[in-house]
């Protein structure tokens, strides 16, 4: 571990205003002011991987209320590449999005998408898939690309390994290397006044390593803090322990982002554990397979049982698709969605609108519940809706995690 890091005062291009804290759980409601507008926290961030949200126009995305979405550095580095990004003037201008962008550093994608990628102290080594030449992607490359992208929140390059890895020495090495790479990212970062660099807490499922990482990274005073290395197929109990442990050690006045999470249940619980920001491709990806997220879980509209169902995707949903025509919506029915879903690209667009809207509305409702100090009741209603009130079906990990923050999910 770097014993005495050369800490330089880190400018910040964000402000976090707290509005309320749940009196039972660790949930927080706040507003995050970023260079391209204010974001209500807790928030779900849809993933526009390649500078486009799966067929939606950015006005459709705005209509869902989205204030902050993701792009991927890995993908934008490949297409259109840094030269085009520089020529066009960054990713906001490339895609015509005037609200906030967050970019992932590309480390996770490198390791998960490129075969034969190996991590060394210098960076991620890989073979160019086209000609087999050995190549190296460094923390400096990642930050330089993210500077060209101009995203409002940029992520450090971290050494990502699966949380399920049995190799403890490797997990420790990855955590320590991520701290060293954070220093290199801070040094390489050219625009700290306009772009907020977030560190990424690593350490696998080892809570001691996570604690050490928190201490090291908090000392580096980045504008925001991410908890990484989760969403890798670990048990939900472990996931909750890591989030709970980290949030307990993080400063109150900084936003906390749990990367790659997740399903509505995961997010609702992680908010209770003190996390603020979430991203996941699942709501938009599953839309393309015909799955609509509703309060009872998900329904697959390709199922023939919906062919003659003339009710909206979700009764009372205020998304453009579900809202009745006399309220300015499209008034689409399940039967209609069944007709187009997974058959027409517009079927994917419409369900993507619904799912993103659903996630953002869920977060808005959670936030309001925290502000009104009734978040535990909100969580109970949320689980009751999914499991039709049958508490025997509630997932044990959620019951346990919530008990850990002072709430009994099974109570009436």
């Amino acid at each position: 571990m770097s014993a005495d890091p050369q800490l330089k005062a880190m400018p910040s291009a964000l402000t976090l205003h707290h509005h309320a804290k749940c009196s039972t759980t660790k949930a927080r409601a706040s507003t995050l002011d970023l260079p391209h507008g204010s974001v209500p926290l807790p928030i779900f961030m849809p993933v526009a991987t390649q500078a486009s949200l799966k067929g939606l126009t950015y006005d459709q995305l705005r209509d869902t209320g989205c204030m902050l979405c993701l792009n991927n550095t890995y993908h934008l580095g490949l297409k259109p590449g840094q030269e085009v990004l520089d020529a066009v003037g960054g990713a906001h201008k490339l895609q015509g999005w005037d609200r906030n962008l967050l970019t992932d550093s590309g480390g996770f994608q490198m390791v998960s998408l490129l075969k034969l990628a190996t991590v060394t102290e210098e960076g991620v080594r890989f073979l160019s898939p086209h000609d087999g030449s050995p190549m190296l992607l460094t923390p400096e490359h990642s930050i330089s690309l993210q500077n060209s992208i101009g995203s409002d929140i940029i992520m450090q390059l971290d050494d990502v390994i699966a949380t399920t890895s049995p190799d403890h020495a490797r997990i420790k090495e990855a955590m320590e290397r991520s701290v060293r790479w954070l220093d290199r990212c801070i040094d390489a970062h050219k625009n700290p006044e306009t772009q907020n660099l977030f560190c990424i807490i690593q350490g696998g499922l080892d809570l001691e390593l996570r604690k050490q990482c928190c201490a090291e990274m908090v000392a580096r005073d980045t504008p925001g803090i991410a908890i990484g290395g989760l969403s890798g197929g670990e048990a939900k109990e472990e996931f909750c322990k890591v989030v709970d442990t980290c949030t307990g050690l993080l400063p109150e006045h900084k936003p906390r982002y749990v990367m790659g999470v997740g399903y509505p249940e995961d997010i609702v619980v992680a908010v209770a554990l003190g996390a603020d920001m979430f991203d996941c491709v699942w709501p938009t990806r599953t839309a393309r397979f015909g799955n609509a997220i509703v309060s009872a879980g998900t329904i697959n509209l390709r199922n023939s049982s919906y062919a003659n169902d003339f009710s909206p995707i979700e009764e009372g949903c205020t998304c453009k698709c579900c809202r009745p025509t006399d309220q300015g919506g499209l008034g689409l029915t399940k039967a209609y969605m069944h007709h187009v879903t997974a058959k027409e690209t517009v079927g994917a667009h419409l369900l993507t609108v619904h799912n993103v809207h659903y996630m953002l509305t869920l977060m808005g409702a959670a936030r309001q519940a925290i502000i009104e100090d009734r978040y535990p009741a909100f969580i109970r209603k949320f689980f009751s809706d999914i499991y039709e009130g049958d508490k025997t079906k509630y997932p044990e990990w959620a019951v346990g995690a919530l008990r850990g923050v002072g709430m009994d999910l099974l109570e009436d």
Binding site: Q50, S52, L145, E344, A348
Partner: protein, 416 residues
């Protein structure tokens, strides 16, 4: 049932009125019209009817279509709602239950080859019988008053054959069947020459395969009122932004009249690497949603990244170009300059749309439909197969398609 006497310049049913506004000869000449359907916005003709797939304009979601396009009519193929053998009477049942504003009558058409003499006779006989039967069952004496399909206007097919071959049928359309026929559906532009004068007041919907704007201008000059434009969707899928105006913009015209000028292309291939850093609009001064919000570089990126938004935005642009084109056509006819405007258009623009160079969308339902004019043999379960492919396809392409030097050039990584 009473026979209505018709004004020679006007045809009408309870549902629909079509008025020919220009006084010029109704056959084989460009003409202006107004198609008014009860409860719908009046359509000024010549105009186009956008083709749909499963009832949707491909790639344009409903909210964007309503807010950001001027599209106000749709062509829907009944086969999109479930393809199967369809007995003629079931087609009529569908008309009764779906209540389209306009229904195109069944025709016996041979696709993909020239029909022989016997086959042609059969085409006429069948189409004649389909039409007689349909009109009787939808509007005829035997149908109780409350049961008549008065909310649907019936367009009778005119076969892609010469006049003599279908004269019995056409005679009947002019006589016995006339009172229930609200319009004509034609399968090729040469059929426009065959319309008997007494049917001249009927709107003519052309289900031909125009190769581009030059063909459209020809069809309009022959008296086409409503046209279908399969090339628009094909261009959008191919990453081509249409880029032409009618009449030719004066500055473009001036340039074209300069010495040694090249004919102007009808569209821009956004797959071209030339557009990678080009932050100009698809067409200069274009007011469509795509041009107001985005630039060429974004389209080039979206196409390379195989993002669906490319096709959605291009559809909005390309249909907008056609809206402006048809508005220009109508003004030109109104002004009486249509003929010379066409000459000038043909002089300035190349006759062919740009060649497709890049990949289009993944195979989806609507791509299997070759349009209304080419209902070729279809295979059961095909749509299921497509939806399966769609479902299985992965969300994004995450493999670099450049070599190590390219990656280094992109700032992505460095060679070691």
């Amino acid at each position: 049932m009473t026979k209505t006497t018709m004004d020679p310049s006007q045809s009408q049913s309870e549902k629909m009125t079509f008025s020919v506004l220009t006084s010029s000869a109704p056959i084989m000449a460009p003409r202006l019209g107004k198609l008014a359907l009860t409860g719908r916005k009046t359509l000024s003709t010549p105009h186009y009817i956008p083709l749909t797939s499963r009832g949707t304009v491909p790639h344009i979601a409903h909210d964007m279509l309503r807010k950001e396009t001027a599209l106000n009519s749709l062509y829907i193929g009944l086969e999109d709602l479930g393809f199967r053998q369809l007995p003629a009477h079931q087609y009529l049942d569908s008309i009764r239950s779906l209540k389209p504003d306009i229904a195109i009558g069944l025709a016996d058409i041979v696709y993909g080859r020239e029909p022989g003499v016997k086959r042609r006779a059969k085409m006429v006989d069948r189409t004649h019988a389909f039409t007689q039967d349909a009109l009787e069952r939808l509007y005829g004496r035997s149908v109780a008053d409350g049961q008549k399909s008065t909310t649907t206007a019936y367009f009778a097919p005119v076969l892609p054959l010469d006049n003599a071959q279908q004269s019995l049928y056409l005679d009947d359309l002019q006589d016995e069947l006339k009172s229930h026929v609200s319009g004509l559906a034609l399968y090729e532009s040469s059929s426009l020459a065959q319309i008997p004068e007494s049917l001249g007041a009927l709107p003519r919907l052309l289900l031909s395969q125009p190769g581009g704007p030059h063909d459209l201008l020809r069809d309009v000059s022959l008296g086409g009122d409503l046209l279908t434009l399969p090339f628009v969707g094909e261009c959008s899928d191919a990453g081509i932004a249409l880029d032409f105006t009618f009449p030719v913009a004066s500055d473009v015209n001036a340039k074209a009249n300069g010495s040694a000028s090249q004919p102007k292309a009808l569209g821009i291939d956004l797959w071209s690497a030339d557009t990678a850093k080009d932050v100009s609009a698809l067409s200069e001064g274009c007011q469509c949603y795509a041009c107001r919000k985005h630039h060429r570089a974004y389209f080039n990126h979206l196409l390379n990244a195989k993002e669906m938004a490319a096709w959605a935005l291009l559809q909005m642009h390309n249909y907008h170009v056609m809206d402006v084109f048809f508005a220009g056509v109508r003004e030109s006819i109104q002004r009486g300059t249509f003929e010379e405007d066409v000459l000038s258009f043909n002089h300035v623009y190349v006759s062919e749309l740009p060649q497709r160079t890049g990949e289009g969308p993944r195979l989806r339902g609507y791509q299997l439909q070759a349009g209304p004019h080419k209902r070729g043999p279809r295979v059961y379960g095909r749509l299921d197969d497509v939806s399966q492919k769609f479902a299985e396809s992965q969300s994004s392409v995450a493999t670099p398609d450049t070599d190590a030097s390219g990656l280094e050039h992109h700032g992505f990584a460095k060679k070691v």
